[in-house]
């Protein structure tokens, strides 16, 4: 970048740079951990503050949390079904809130004010490792949900309408986490990159509508991830007749 002409040097753009932490043989993307901890801390603080003094008249944070609870319950109930949605509501809610707050935190908090030795802070979900971890958790969850609810009869699902479906269903077990993780990661990273490139090219005004659009898609992505996770779990526990 140093060799670029002066008018290109209002901002700097770097991709694929990470703040590496070394744990034994593992090289960990430190900036993702930092922002994740901040997101988790913010969520915990919100929940603790909102539930510390519960009243019958829901006000302020309590009202917001109850609203979110209602929203997540409706989501889980429509996708998973009346019978077992209660077991999976905490998981779906955690996914939704973590992804939503990560996305919005990445888009709204001026992370770049904090300068790291390498890489930059941003939404944890803009890192493929985070989204893969979440998607694998979803995979484990729906397997567990299916097996714990139906036992070995869960595998009837693989040959459900006809045994011809078997290879497709097996492939689906791999494509589900793949599509979940890539969709979320791609959308969030693309949002961040579009904004970064625009800021790099036109520092003022023009990025604003794109940033609003990014907020919108971020929220949608969180909803899509949570809904699909719930749908997969619902599919696994569904009774075929």
């Amino acid at each position: 970048m140093g060799s670029l002409p002066f008018f290109f040097t209002f901002a700097e753009l770097e991709v694929g740079q990470h703040l590496y932490w070394q744990f034994g043989n593992l090289r960990i993307h430190g900036q993702v951990f930092l922002t994740s901890w901040i997101v988790i801390g913010a969520l915990l603080a919100l929940v603790v503050v909102g539930t510390k003094k519960m009243e019958r008249d829901p006000q302020g944070v309590q009202n917001l949390l109850e609203f979110l609870w209602d929203y997540i319950r409706d989501l889980a109930r429509t996708q998973i079904g009346e019978k077992v949605y209660r077991d999976w509501m905490p998981f779906i809610g955690t996914l939704f809130l973590f992804i939503f707050v990560s996305n919005w935190g990445g888009a709204l908090v001026p992370w770049r004010l904090i300068h790291l030795p390498s890489g930059e802070l941003g939404a944890p979900t803009a890192d493929i490792n985070t989204t893969v971890a979440l998607a694998l958790l979803v995979s484990l969850s729906y397997f567990y949900a299916g097996l714990s609810n139906k036992g070995l009869r869960y595998f009837e699902y693989y040959v459900h309408p006809t045994p011809i479906m078997l290879p497709f269903k097996i492939v689906e077990d791999f494509t589900k986490p793949l599509s979940l993780s890539f969709r979320l990661f791609g959308n969030i990273l693309a949002d961040e990159l579009v904004v970064a490139v625009l800021v790099f090219l036109v520092p003022l005004v023009l990025p604003v509508p794109v940033m609003f659009l990014g907020l919108f898609t971020s929220a949608i992505q969180a909803l899509i991830f949570a809904t699909l996770a719930a749908y997969y779990i619902g599919e696994a526990v569904e009774e075929h007749h």
């Binding site: 970048m1 140093g2 040097t9 209002f10 901002a11 700097e12 019958r56 008249d57 829901p58 006000q59 009202n63 917001l64 109850e66 609203f67 209602d70 888009a107 709204l108 001026p110 770049r112 004010l113 904090i114 300068h115 790291l116 030795p117 904004v195 970064a196 800021v199 520092p203 003022l204 005004v205 990025p207 604003v208 940033m211 609003f212 907020l215």
Partner: protein, 171 residues
């Protein structure tokens, strides 16, 4: 790109470049959200709160109503119980009275029947004795009529007449 980049190679720090950190645009976006979100989300939350409060009020009203109804029902129950116990005691006394009455009547009836049977027996006995007497008299007369024509002659008739006249004189 000058000062921040020097910092960048140093490690953790603050980047205060307004353009590079996109702070101005972020400020606009956050301000916009601050302007619109409270209207949107706040309206939604407020409506939710109102609905909940309304529900609560409704539930409280219904609780009150139900409590009143329960109170009323309890009162009715106690009065009904009272009435029931009264009816029960009435019934008991009436049953007692009826029992006594019927006992008395039975005893009377029995006495009456016994009496009737005795009088029937007496009447029958007297009727039978009367009949027997009549029969005996009839037989005696028949026998007398049978034997009389042979036995009766002038001497015995005059003797009989004399005896009868004597008897009449004695009588």
């Amino acid at each position: 790109m000058n000062l921040p980049l020097i910092l960048a190679s140093e490690g953790f720090g603050l980047n205060l470049n307004l353009f590079e950190t996109n702070v101005l645009n972020l400020a606009v976006v956050i301000f916009g959200l601050y302007k619109f979100l409270p209207n949107f989300l706040g309206g939604m939350l407020e409506r939710r709160r109102k609905a909940i409060l309304l529900d609560l009020e409704d539930a409280e009203d219904r609780l009150q109503e139900a409590t009143n109804a329960l109170e009323k029902a309890k009162q009715e129950l106690s009065s009904a119980e009272q009435k029931a116990s009264q009816i029960r005691s009435d019934c008991k006394s009436r049953a007692e009275a009826i029992r006594l009455e019927s006992e008395k009547r039975t005893v009377e009836e029995m006495a009456r029947i016994k009496q009737g049977a005795a009088s029937d027996l007496n009447a029958e006995a007297s009727r039978v004795s009367t009949q027997l007497r009549r029969e005996a008299a009839r037989l005696a007369i028949e026998k007398a009529l049978e034997t009389l024509p042979g036995k009766l002659d002038k001497v015995s008739q005059s003797k009989f007449l004399t005896d009868s006249i004597n008897n009449m004189g004695e009588g």
